[in-house]
């Protein structure tokens, strides 16, 4: 039964800002639980093919990652769709769009998805986020919850009716 929302944070929490997605996912999980939203949190070092069957049960997904293609401390939400996975040279480099394509090819469906990119700058060894990235996390949580509550309202009613 597809009635949950998946929040997938990925990155390396021991490489400073690379762990922004993981940290954001954890905060979203706590906030969603407090608000009774039907959200399941996933945290990965990298997105791999192994995640494909795990996300099958979800109609909607938010992927959270850090990136250097936007200003430090800013956030960008994009609706994403399946994308050709090409040669798939590295398991470590699976983009969420490629994961969605693998799900479509192998299982015939994939969740409707957003990608949230958090602009990072410090990717050196370290288990703390840069100040700017840490300061932007509440905004990531709020924006994610807004998307979840808008998109997830229908799912919430299904969830209430069929808790299993």
């Amino acid at each position: 039964m597809k009635h949950f929302i998946a929040v997938v944070g990925y990155g390396n929490p021991t490489r400073s800002d690379d762990g922004a997605g993981i940290a954001a996912a954890e905060l979203i999980g706590k906030a969603a639980e407090a608000e009774g939203l039907p959200v399941k949190i996933f945290q990965y070092h990298q997105l791999t093919i192994d995640a494909a069957p795990l996300l099958l049960d979800y109609k909607f997904a938010i992927f959270l990652d850090s990136g250097i293609n936007i200003p430090h401390g800013s956030i960008l939400f994009n609706r994403i769709e399946s994308e050709d996975y090409g040669a798939l040279s590295l398991s470590h480099h699976l983009k969420p769009q490629q994961l969605l394509m693998i799900m479509d090819t192998l299982f015939g469906s994939s969740p409707e998805s957003f990608l949230c990119t958090i602009g990072g700058r410090d990717f050196d060894f370290g288990n703390t986020l840069s100040d700017k990235v840490a300061a932007t996390l509440p905004e990531v949580v709020n924006a994610s919850l807004e998307i979840i509550s808008q998109t997830g309202s229908a799912y919430r009613s299904v969830f209430v009716q069929t808790p299993n």
């Binding site: 192994d50 069957p53 795990l54 040669a87 798939l88 398991s91 090819t105 192998l106």
Partner: protein
């Protein structure tokens, strides 16, 4: 004029390696070397740490087979504690190793090797990868993902984490198996059985297409090493060392792993960070031996479970003596998955598996400990020395891939001789050199896990250092 080819990096293996092929004056292959170009240093930097930390530290050697390292480390630490671990702990450690074998072998077969086996070694490298496999045979890909997931569930449900679970500890394990998780594991067994039996049927059908590769992929006489149980059957977690020679004679049997140094010497070559262990009585390099799936099936007298034993009989019928071709590691891997699933079921149906007495406690009672298990890739040794406060003074680790180092070099040489034509670099040769290495599923580290086409640069270098030829792929 003597020349050399360099292939770097090797793809779809764990870690960083390169191959150098040396030609003689007549452009015939003279020698080949498989070198590991990364340095990890675990043996040195664990010195000074409390021995109780070892299972967690050495797990970080690898992201694919951390369970093997934590098991070997914990067994070495059991020696230092001087304890016999509770029966339930021994059984769930075995169960954990079954999960490791299922998930790691599934990764090797379906993700890393199936693109070659299904699409062919000479197919377009742009599609000869997991993406090509997904397109060509989605059911096979789904089966691989599912089987890996089922194996991973065993590790995750026991250790709370799928990678690097801090659950195996000196003296046992830190939490018992719950009846809920036992039932969840049992529920997945029929599907796992179905997948592996279908895959065995598939593999035996396509094996005929690879007669040339079977003949040339590491197909040479050598010794073999593996663990066996007290009855001489297949064993992956406890048991005794058994060495056989290339004619199937048992040359050392029922050897306690703690005596490994009497039988295994360690050589070092200047071109690689990987050790070259050898069978001591024969010296270096004549004491070359192989470990891993085919080696285990060669040394054992059968499986103690019926379905795997039936497959084992068929496997051993491939040749009169031991099965020599390293290509057959793929076949052996599938049989071992079957054996691990059968063993998993036996363990889960044993009421003692739920016993909550799962750890023995003690402080330092011995200053030295040796632990040995079969990792998916072969026999793994951890040997520790501590001071009276339990701080690590010295460590020696012989990992599965190290055991195979001499054979890997010999296999690359054999393939290069068969598939190189003069000084010409061919795609066919590169593919097969990589594939023979992949047949051993070497784990050079957990740092890179590539399973598709990566840039490969092959350089033909003259003795004076100038480049005679160069090919770049990717």
């Amino acid at each position: 004029m003597a020349r050399e080819f360099i292939i770097e990096p090797i793809t779809r293996i764990e870690g960083h390696g390169k191959v150098t092929i040396y030609l003689d004056d007549n452009d015939q292959v003279k020698d080949a070397r498989f070198a590991v170009t990364q340095f990890r240093g675990f043996e040195k930097f664990v010195e000074g740490r409390p021995f109780t930390e070892m299972p967690s530290i050495v797990e970080r050697i690898c992201g694919i087979c951390p369970v093997s390292h934590s098991l070997a480390a914990s067994k070495a630490c059991d020696f230092i504690l001087g304890v016999k671990i509770p029966k339930a702990a021994a059984k769930i450690r075995r169960l954990l190793n079954c999960g490791e074998f299922i998930q790691s072998h599934a990764l090797s077969f379906f993700y890393l090797s199936c693109p070659d086996l299904l699409l062919g070694f000479d197919s377009d490298p742009a599609t000869r990868n997991i993406a090509g496999l997904i397109s060509a045979n989605p059911q096979l890909a789904r089966n691989g993902i599912r089987l890996r997931q089922i194996g991973g569930h065993i590790v995750e449900w026991l250790g709370k984490k799928r990678v690097h679970p801090a659950w195996v500890v000196p003296g046992g394990v830190n939490e018992p198996l719950s009846s809920e998780h036992r039932d969840m594991m049992l529920a997945e067994i029929p599907e796992a059985m179905d997948i592996i039996q279908n895959t065995l049927t598939f593999f035996k059908r396509i094996m005929e297409d690879y007669r040339k590769e079977i003949r040339t992929f590491g197909n040479f006489p050598s010794m073999f090493l593996g663990l066996v149980d007290a009855a001489g059957n297949w064993e992956i977690t406890d048991g005794f060392l058994r060495f056989i020679d290339s004619k199937d004679n048992i040359v050392a049997d029922m050897v306690e792993p703690a005596r490994y140094k009497e039988f295994i010497g360690e050589a070092v070559e200047e071109f690689s960070y990987l050790k070259s262990p050898y069978y001591k009585p024969l010296g270096y390099p004549d004491g070359m031996y192989r470990v891993g799936p085919a080696a285990r099936l060669n040394v054992c007298g059968g499986f103690s479970t019926p379905l795997a034993n039936l497959e084992w009989t068929e496997f051993r019928d491939l040749e009169r003596g031991p099965v020599l071709s390293s290509f057959h590691n793929h076949y052996a891997r599938l049989i071992e998955i079957l054996g691990a699933i059968e063993l998993e079921e036996l363990l889960l149906k044993d009421p003692e598996i739920l016993d909550t007495h799962i750890r023995a406690f003690a402080s330092v009672n011995e200053y030295e400990g040796i632990g040995c298990v079969e990792a998916p890739r072969g026999t793994l040794f951890h040997h520790y020395k501590v001071d009276k406060t339990g701080l690590m003074q010295w460590a020696n680790m012989i990992v599965a891939t190290g055991n195979n180092n001499l054979a890997l070099n010999h296999s690359v040489l054999q393939v290069a001789r068969h598939y190189m034509s003069g000084a010409k670099i061919t795609e066919s040769m590169i593919n097969r050199v990589e594939a023979v290495i992949r047949a051993y599923d070497p784990c050079l580290s957990c740092s890179t896990h590539a399973f598709g086409q990566m840039p490969i640069k092959i350089t033909l270098v003259k003795p004076d250092g100038t480049i005679a030829d160069e090919a770049v792929r990717g």
